[in-house]
């Protein structure tokens, strides 16, 4: 069976090319205004602000706070082009054009926020490895976040492509293949969501069993211990100990926190474990000295 296709007139393609060329020209004319008025910088700050909120709400390690100087990948050209495209697409109604512009802007901004989140994670992981020598992101996670960042870039270009088609006079008036029903689309989306959630949970379990990840929890515990932030240090040490860290300092410092709170039995148990792991004279001396400071029960 052949599809019923509204065959476009031969003049459609040159007209469409002229339309997108006009949109490009307008976006370039808008560029000095966009940058000179500070709108570009305000947009960047907005993206970074939103990305910071996302990172702070979702980060696994309590490391990141603010990134005012972050330069997310430069893709504000999508915003300019979307505005220009909707301006030149006079063949469709103003209401539909406005709706398309809003959808394009929301999708683009969301993709750019996610790309900035990926950039923050990658840059902070590189920085922690360089300055402190531990892995905030495991190699597989590093690869996955890098891939996600690249895919988000592709997705932004795909938005431009889809917007050009959506504002085009060129129509895919096909009837031979019907659109999938809303029910099928929802089922597929739900299956994808379920699969993603299950994979995320499974990966979380695997990650917490990885010695390099456990070591990172212990190292971050040390960073907060040095800053006298006992609450965060304790949280990180407990995760590291649950992951069977072999870092004696994690046990020693947590014992110190327990002793400060009067939980001497727990402190003693942690010191004994520390003595087992830190089998050298210096550690033995430190542990013995700490034991001597604990009140005898």
């Amino acid at each position: 069976m052949r599809a019923a296709v509204a065959s476009p007139a031969p003049s459609v393609v040159p007209r469409e090319i002229a339309r997108v060329a006009a949109a490009l020209a307008i976006s370039l004319l808008l560029l000095p205004l966009w940058r000179g008025s500070g709108a570009s910088e305000a947009y960047r700050r907005g993206v970074v602000f939103a990305a910071e909120r996302v990172v702070l709400a979702t980060q696994h390690f309590p490391l990141l706070a603010s990134f005012p100087d972050l330069r997310p990948p430069e893709s504000d050209f999508v915003v300019l082009l979307a505005a220009a495209l909707t301006a030149v697409s006079i063949g469709i109604g103003r209401r539909r054009r406005t709706a398309l512009l809003l959808v394009a802007l929301v999708v683009t901004a969301s993709l750019q926020v996610l790309a900035a989140v990926a950039t923050i994670h990658l840059e902070s992981a590189r920085e922690m490895e360089r300055s402190h020598g531990f892995l905030v992101l495991l190699p597989a996670e590093f690869l996955a976040v890098g891939q996600a960042k690249m895919m988000l870039y592709y997705a932004q270009l795909a938005v431009v492509f889809a917007l050009v088609l959506a504002t085009s006079a060129w129509r895919f008036a096909l009837t031979a293949r019907g659109a999938p029903s809303s029910r099928r689309v929802l089922t597929a989306a739900a299956a994808l969501l379920l699969l993603s959630t299950a994979s995320w949970i499974a990966w979380g379990r695997l990650r917490e069993a990885d010695a390099r990840h456990v070591a990172a929890h212990a190292q971050i515990g040390h960073l907060f211990w040095v800053k006298r932030d006992d609450a965060v240090a304790e949280e990180q040490y407990r995760i590291a100990i649950a992951g069977r860290t072999t870092d004696p300092e994690a046990y020693f410092n947590l014992a110190g926190i327990e002793a400060k709170r009067g939980r001497f039995d727990d402190a003693g148990r942690l010191l004994r474990r520390c003595a087992e792991l830190g089998a050298d004279p210096v550690w033995a001396a430190r542990v013995n000295r700490a034991f001597a400071l604990l009140p005898r029960s």
Binding site: M1, R2, A3, V5, A6, S7, P8, P10, V12, V13, E16, I17, V20, A21, A23, L24, S27, L28, L31, E74, S75, F77, L80, L81, L143, G146, Q147, M150, M151, Y153, Y154, A155, L157, A158, V160, F161, A162, V164, L165, S168, W170, R171, F172, A173, L174, T175, A176, R177, G178, A179, P180, V185
Partner: protein, 165 residues
């Protein structure tokens, strides 16, 4: 109306293709050689234009300056989008293969023009490089992909060569 079906398939193909292209093995064995091919072609064309250019891997050296061709400048993004759109369009597979092949050649050609232009801009007016790099060519390459798709789609549609159900 299959606009929604086309859009869904297009999104799925872009996501799947983007994932595949960012796999280290694919990056090493497909994307990197493609990028090096772009660099060699750029240097060759620049030499024809009288610029003393030389390609080393993904780098193009010209005089004291150099440009590194990375993801986003190698045309792979435009090729991915064009290929996804062609594959999502309900044309016979032979027409789709023709569209992808012609599109690959055309995108490679346009991308060479883009890279040579960037080398010329970098040499002649370096302060304009960010504008040309981000605001002109990133947009233009996608618009070229759209134009190629519309041309191919019109050719297929006008002959009624749309795949049946």
């Amino acid at each position: 109306m299959s606009g929604r079906r086309f859009l869904l398939l297009f999104v799925v193909y872009v996501a799947a293709g983007g994932f595949v292209l960012s796999l280290p093995w694919v990056e090493q064995s497909l994307v990197a050689p493609w990028t090096r091919l772009n660099a060699r072609g750029t240097a060759a064309i620049a030499r024809v234009l009288g610029i003393d250019a030389e390609a080393h891997g993904a780098d193009v050296f010209y005089g004291w300056g150099s440009l590194r061709i990375v993801v986003g400048c190698n045309g792979v993004e435009a090729l991915l989008i064009l290929t996804s759109a062609v594959l999502a369009f309900p044309a016979p597979w032979r027409q789709r293969a023709l569209g992808v092949t012609a599109g690959t050649v055309a995108i490679l050609g346009v991308n060479l023009v883009r890279l040579v232009n960037l080398v010329v801009v970098a040499k002649v007016a370096p302060t304009w490089l960010p504008v040309f790099h981000v605001y002109v060519w990133q947009v233009l390459i996608v618009l070229v992909a759209v134009s190629l798709f519309l041309t191919w789609g019109t050719y297929v549609a006008r002959r009624g060569r749309i795949a049946g159900a």
